[in-house]
């Protein structure tokens, strides 16, 4: 079969039509590549936004998360009674819980002395909080009052905290107008909602924010037995607990946050629109290239028809040109996308990464772009009248 295909092959007309006009091919590839990069960047920013909105959410050591039904997103969390968490312990599959306070406070940059809003998490240092194994040893330093762990991935505007800390300096600054000392660094990562994070003990948290009702928490982490079905447990907890609390699986908790950014803000729409513009620009460029290619070679196509080539064969030539263009344009677009993602990661600290889904989505869009343009360009081919060339 393989040999047969080799034997029946013909002159690779599509390939030769494209490659024997290097300038036009270059313009076509540059156009498709540009469109591809635009789509990669827009979709990357969009997904990055949704992903970074849950950087902290993903790190919690929990199977089920309790929140207040009034909470809309990480930037507007409401409190609910801590008792609900204790009540949930009654469920046979629940093996542990961690109450967490969550709010934004003002952090003073110890170098420039300007203040900036930072996300503060408060919890009992003896409770598990993050899945990170090293975290519990760091948490021990929080038992003294006025101590905080600073997120070393926070934006630089909070000051050179991690640098100073690593140099062995005592890093002290003001949070919510009160003096605190940094006793460790953690790696959480900034999100679109929070430029930086700090973790402190519940005791310190309540000192920083004396107006917090002592029985109130913003999120409750619930850990289940290894073999428990978290969805089932979440359902039964929701039924048994009063409705002043919402029970979510960790996955639902992540989706809850993403949905906020997706639906309640125009960000998702804007970036999708940006990607759509890239698609349209690409379509126009590929269409122009293929259309003028067919127009320029109309006499030659007509000659082939006169020689006895079927119109189907010639349409196939244009179609293959479209496929070739999409591959030749996609590869540089993919590589540039990777490079630009790296640049974005380094300069904004947003975890914009190439996912398999996005890579294949952009490829499909480029393929549709090229094949659609090829289809329209084929209309021109039908105009080729072999009788005209005599």
């Amino acid at each position: 079969m393989n040999l047969n295909v080799w034997n029946t092959r013909k002159i690779p007309l599509s390939w030769l039509l494209l490659t024997r006009q290097p300038l036009r091919l270059f313009v076509a590839i540059a156009g498709i590549c540009f469109a591809g990069i635009l789509m990669f960047m827009q979709l990357g920013f969009r997904d990055g936004l949704f992903d970074t909105s849950v950087t902290v959410h993903k790190l919690f050591d929990a199977d089920i998360v309790l929140i207040s039904p009034r909470s809309k997103s990480s930037i507007s969390m409401s409190g609910f009674p801590r008792r609900r968490l204790i009540q949930s312990m009654a469920h046979e599959d629940v093996i542990g819980t961690t109450p967490v306070n969550w709010t934004f406070v003002l952090w003073r940059n110890p170098k420039t002395l300007s203040t900036r809003s930072i996300l503060a998490l408060g919890f009992e240092p003896t409770d598990p909080l993050l899945t990170d194994k090293e975290f519990s040893s760091k948490a021990k330093s929080l038992t003294n009052p006025g101590r905080v762990l600073f997120d070393e991935l926070s934006r630089d505007e909070f000051g050179p905290i991690s640098k100073w800390f690593r140099q062995g300096r005592v890093v002290e600054t003001e949070v919510a107008g009160k003096r605190v000392r940094v006793t460790g660094l953690v790696s959480l990562g900034p999100s679109f909602g929070a430029d930086g994070n700090l973790i402190t003990s519940r005791e310190t948290f309540l000192k920083l924010l004396p107006n917090t009702p002592s029985g109130s928490i913003e999120i409750g982490l619930v850990r289940l037995r290894r073999d428990a079905d978290s969805e089932k447990v979440a359902k039964s907890l929701q039924l048994s607990l009063p409705n002043d609390v919402k029970v979510l699986t960790t996955e639902e908790f992540i989706q809850f946050e993403k949905n906020y950014w997706r639906n309640s803000t125009s960000i998702g729409f804007i970036f999708t629109l940006g990607a759509a513009m890239g698609f349209v620009v690409g379509c126009v460029i590929v269409y122009q290239i293929l259309y003028s290619d067919v127009s320029d070679h109309l006499a030659e196509y007509a000659t082939l028809m006169a020689m006895g080539y079927q119109i189907r064969t010639l349409l196939g030539v244009v179609g293959r040109e479209g496929i070739l263009l999409s591959f030749m344009g996609y590869i540089p677009a993919y590589l540039s996308g990777q490079a630009l993602y790296l640049l974005v990661r380094n300069s904004t600290k947003l975890p914009v990464v190439m996912t398999y889904q996005r890579a294949s989505l952009v490829f499909s869009l480029i393929l549709i772009m090229c094949m659609g343009s090829a289809l329209v360009a084929m209309k021109r081919l039908v105009d080729a009248d072999p009788a005209e060339i005599f």
Binding site: N7, E300, M307
Partner: protein
Amino acid sequence: MIDESSVEIDSLSHWYGKDSTRRQVLQSVSMKIEPGEVVLLTGPSGCGKTTLLTLIGTLRKIQEGHLSVFGEQLYGATRKTRQKIRKKIGMIFQGHNLLRCLTAEQNVQMGSDLLSDLSYKVRRDKAREWLRAVGLEHEMQKLPHDLSGGQKQRVAIARALAASPKLLLADEPTSALDSVTGREIVDLLKRLALEQACSVLMVTHDPRILDIADRIVKMEDGRLISSIE
């Protein structure tokens, strides 16, 4: 097939345009071309020579009259039938109409590629053979714009013959060439056609090449006026 004419035309008429601008270009033309015969078609320009050629080449629809090629009736023929017949007809145009992006060898192979039951290697060897036959063994890898006018026309001939046609239609193949090259080309054409037992119908204005014909047909105002053996 042996005793059948390659082309049989009976009272063929053709018009261009519609309604008031309708103009008759062929008026009841009748002729026959036997296998292996070389027929030259001459006449003033605009007398319908090229129209007749395109009708025989199945590139236009027959409006009135009978025209059969290799025994196939073309009046009302389906696209598939016409396509099939077209593969057996080699065409050489006034402009060489080579594919600019292909080398001489690839251009000729576009002809032999029509013989799809042959393997790639056989088709390529056929292309090379024909280029050798037209004396271009050293220019096989050149693109058309690196070839002279005569060389291009020779590539076009090789391409037309590479599909093993049973009928060659040529429209003023020498018009763009100087007299010496033109002579070479038609001599070559005649010799190769004879070897292939291929009929030739050639439109020409060139009085210097009339001697290669088995028969010369003159046309005027859409009518055949004389036939000289």
